[in-house]
């Protein structure tokens, strides 16, 4: 990655970070439009840098742009929407977009498993808890973010640190023979992604599979024990003053 491409990428990330900062709930002064414009500008800038910086992979670029747009916009709404129900529904959109990207990456089994497990099971549990625990309307703690500037700064630094290593990834790796279509070590030719991944999980990672099953059993026992636990209701609890960011009186922007 040349220096100019890297600086363009960092500029785009900073723009997106500013957009997320304005999109985060700020109490009674919502500046969603500013954040949306900045975020969309950052998204378009990111695609321009990808296209002209030589960062795009081969094939399916149109589909990549489409699903990456859906995934990033929906993820931004998950973390910034003031109402938790909408956050959960936008997360379904993130899952579906990521599953489509996995299909483009020749991971068909994982794409379907992602939709079944996330959109089918985990999200239903989240929505159930949200419905159980919502008091109608958005609460004060949903309408004001906690230290949004510092959080966006941390996220920006992390993203820049990861993306600066994207050019250290080699063009291609030939550390072992190709196993995507067929696995000769298992003796059976796997002609589909599902069959190949099943062979790998059932032979090389069979111990990990057992440990995963054990972990699920422990989690189930723990969840049942938690839900049966009797808790004292702390009456007279008063929420403290809504907490804002450092120097709420002084506008950082």
């Amino acid at each position: 990655m040349s220096g100019s491409t890297a600086s363009a990428l960092y500029f785009v990330f900073a723009l997106g970070g500013a957009g997320v900062y304005f999109l985060l709930p700020h109490g009674d002064r919502p500046r969603t439009m500013v954040g949306a414009i900045l975020g969309l500008g950052a998204l378009v800038g990111w695609f321009v840098v990808l296209a002209f910086g030589g960062l795009m992979g081969t094939g399916h670029t149109g589909y990549f742009y489409l699903f990456a747009t859906i995934a990033v916009v929906a993820a931004a709404r998950v973390v910034t929407h003031p109402r938790p129900v909408y956050s959960a529904l936008y997360f379904v959109l993130v899952v579906i977009a990521v599953a489509s990207l996995l299909v483009l990456q020749e991971a068909e089994f994982l794409a379907v498993a992602l939709i079944i497990i996330y959109a089918g099971a985990i999200l239903v549990t989240y929505l159930f808890v949200i419905m159980l625990a919502s008091q109608g309307g958005s609460a004060t703690y949903d309408r004001r973010a906690r230290e949004p500037f510092l959080a966006v700064l941390a996220g920006f630094v992390l993203m820049a640190a990861i993306a600066s290593h994207a050019d250290a990834v080699p063009e291609s790796v030939t550390d072992r023979p190709a196993q995507l279509a067929s696995d000769s070590s298992a003796g059976v030719v796997a002609d589909s992604n599902t069959l190949a991944i099943g062979q790998l999980v059932m032979t090389k990672y069979v111990v990990v599979l057992e440990v995963a099953g054990l972990l699920l059993l422990i989690a189930m026992v723990g969840a049942i024990a938690l839900s049966r636990k009797k808790v004292p209701v702390e009456s007279g609890y008063r929420p403290t003053e809504p907490v804002g960011e450092i120097g709420r009186k002084v506008e950082p922007f």
Binding site: L24, W46, G54, L55, M56, G57, T58, A68, A71, V72, A75, A76, V78, V79, P84, S87, F91, V94, L101, Q105, E106, A107, L110, A113, L114, I117, Y118, I122, Y126, V129, A133, A139, T140, Y141, D142, A145, L150, A151, A154, G155, L158, M159, I162, D167, V169, P170, E171, V173, T174, Q179, L180, N193, I197, L200, A212, L215, L216, A219, A223, S227
Partner: protein, 100 residues
């Protein structure tokens, strides 16, 4: 340039967005939804590396990530319901002072 650099950058964007949400939101449920967004970024990265290396171990890793996500969601939501029954709020700040 690597053929999967675009997917790696997309994964880092999803991970960073989830991190921002986890750090800045005060609703316990939205905080854990943000960790799920971070999981999505990791899944994108793992599958991209699987395609780069031409073998399936990244995809197997992503499959076990799904197990961890399910375990985390079950336990975390059980604990959130417990905390909500205790104080009647989902605000994380309500638990800023922990007593035994």
């Amino acid at each position: 340039m690597s053929p999967v650099a675009d997917y790696l950058i997309l994964g880092s964007i999803l991970f960073a967005l989830g991190l921002v949400g986890f750090l800045s939101r005060r609703n316990l449920i939205v905080m854990f939804l943000s960790t799920e967004v971070m999981f999505q970024g990791v899944v994108v990265n793992a599958v991209a590396f699987a395609r780069l290396h031409h073998h399936l171990e990244g995809q197997a890793f992503a499959l076990f990530l799904l197990v961890i996500a399910a375990v985390e969601a079950g336990l975390a939501l059980g604990m959130i319901v417990l905390l909500y029954r205790r104080r009647g709020t989902l605000d994380a700040e309500a638990w800023s002072i922990m007593r035994g």
